[in-house]
């Protein structure tokens, strides 16, 4: 069943892709087959493969239980918030929380997770910024 749903999404994606390719505007430069031909081929391959998934689905994959799925969703949300927070509150502070969250969810006690968060954040800051000179996101305090 999962493969059939996946195939359905694939079909929608392929149709959308081909439509998006059809509205590519020509520029003043032209070549023989233009900018649309290759995307059409790619879209068709997507379409045919998706049809195959619907007709001949594989065995059902092992989906995680609901709490496992939640785990991933919340994890992804935390990482999205982290990406957004990087330029807002700076690398040092946001990394403490992001690392602490992930470490905690992978089974460390909350206190130790926080300690790991601080350690990771400071460690990366020292190695990558102070020693190697990489530019990290700066927050309101300049760090």
């Amino acid at each position: 069943m999962s493969d059939r749903i996946f195939g359905g999404f694939g079909l929608a994606l392929a149709v959308f892709y081909i439509w998006a390719a059809s509205i590519i505007k020509d520029s003043f430069m032209v070549d023989v087959i233009g900018p649309r031909a290759f995307p059409y081929i790619v879209g068709s391959v997507l379409f045919i493969c998706s049809l195959y998934f619907i007709v001949r689905p594989d065995d059902e994959p092992k989906w995680p239980a609901l709490n496992g799925l939640m785990e991933i969703m919340v994890g992804a949300a935390v990482l999205f918030v982290y990406s957004w927070a990087l330029p807002e509150i700076g690398f040092l502070i946001s990394t403490v929380f992001a690392t602490a969250y992930l470490t905690w969810r992978l089974g460390t006690t909350p206190l130790w997770s926080f300690v790991t968060g601080v350690g990771t954040s400071v460690g990366i800051y020292v190695v990558f910024h102070l020693i190697l000179g990489l530019s990290l996101a700066k927050g309101p305090f300049g760090i």
């Binding site: 031909a37 594989d58 790991t116």
Partner: protein, 512 residues
Amino acid sequence: MDILSLLANGFAVALTPQNLMLAFLGCFLGTLMGALPGLGPANGVAILIPIAFSLGLGPTPSLILLTSVYYGAMYGGRISSILLNIPGDEPAMMTCIDGYPMAQQGKAGQALSLSGIASFVGAFFATCGLVMLAPQLVKIALLFGPAEYFVLFTVAFATLGGITSTNQAKSAFAAALGLGIAMIGSDSQTGSQRFTFDHIHLYDGIDFLIAIVGLFALSEVFIFLEHHRSGSVTSSNVPKVTKILPDLKMLKSCIPTITRGTGLGFFAGVLPGAGASLGSFLAYSLEKQTVDRDGKTFGKGDPRGVAAPEAGNNAASGGALVPMLALGVPGSGTTAVLLAVLLQLNITPGPLLFTKNPDVVWGLIAALFIANFMLLAMNIPLVSLFTRVLLVPTRILMPVVAMISFVGIYSITGSTFDVMLMVGFGLAGWLLRKLEVPLVPVILGILLGNQMEVNMRRAMTISDGEWSVFVGSPLAIVLWIIAIAGFVLPMLYGRKVKARMEAASKEEIVKN
């Protein structure tokens, strides 16, 4: 003799203090990453690419650093196979079968050093093979026109699933997905905006590094989150590594084994779509067929069962560099990531690389030789240091890896949009893995998409719109035959070969 003088120049490039240090650092980090379960060579190199660039290293030094990581990871994979019965990366799977029983018999040190020597021999001769074979392949590749190149890219995608692929439609879907992503941005030929929907962040297309780090490294983090708590592999029962030198008798008895493993592994590496996993599998099963037909000692800690797959796996990783450097077409996930390194450095691999940037090619090859000796030196006496790394629990390690990926991507793009895109790729990678859609074709599609299209359009321009140009030369027809065979054969034999590989490792789990 031409090759030797070129190689000598390469050594002159590689033997500067800075490059030697980078090679050392790469070998060390690589072995570490290989040894840690869940962080394979592709992940390791992927995370380090953006960091190498933000450091402002030149092309040759970055390449030396990253290929040392690649070789190092191939060495490192065996450590957790032998000590914990958990392969550090996929190619090290076969090493578990005899390596773990050896460790249980108190011969962990010998197993480690023997496999280290086998890895060295495999990688050393494969690098020699690379020196011989790549320039020959370049001569053929120079005959390629745009049409042949287009077909060659098709061959790469058709064979990438490899003989173990069970669902070719999923490989093809993955490749099309990657090619589709590569089309986003302004068209290189005419300048038209494609699939950007007037979104300014998309005008330059999607940086392949974002896709690679997201799909490989971050999806791994999500996999760990899914299996949280069970994901910690650490156990207090890491066997003590005592005697770290193999006795000469054992080593001597393994010489023929290592020789066979090296030959087979190199062959498997050069072939498109085979790669290191198949190299070690072939080496192990052939060795078992040759010296232990009745299954008396193999699987119970036979040193030859450790030497064969390690020689095979490392020889294959050297062999896989041949098509990547000479044709610009990688045959495995890790070499695809190395291709990303070259593209990021504005170096187009392929036949012209050997004439235009000989210092890069030969410097790289010389660095491989140097890295190999360093790895041998590192892996025999320092092996107990690496085994200690296995004590770091994954629950602490994975978040650190995730944060380093963020640091890398943020430092090269400096854009929140791109970092979020990476998280999106991570989620997509998790989903695709669950559905058993391979990720390597996606990456390769993103990397090669534009070149593939450019070659198609050039060929069509030359032929003035005649599609028959793609079957217009004997070379193109031969390539089509390879592509079709490579795509169809796994449909017929894929399940069988995969079932045998799985049976081999299951058998061993039952025994323990």
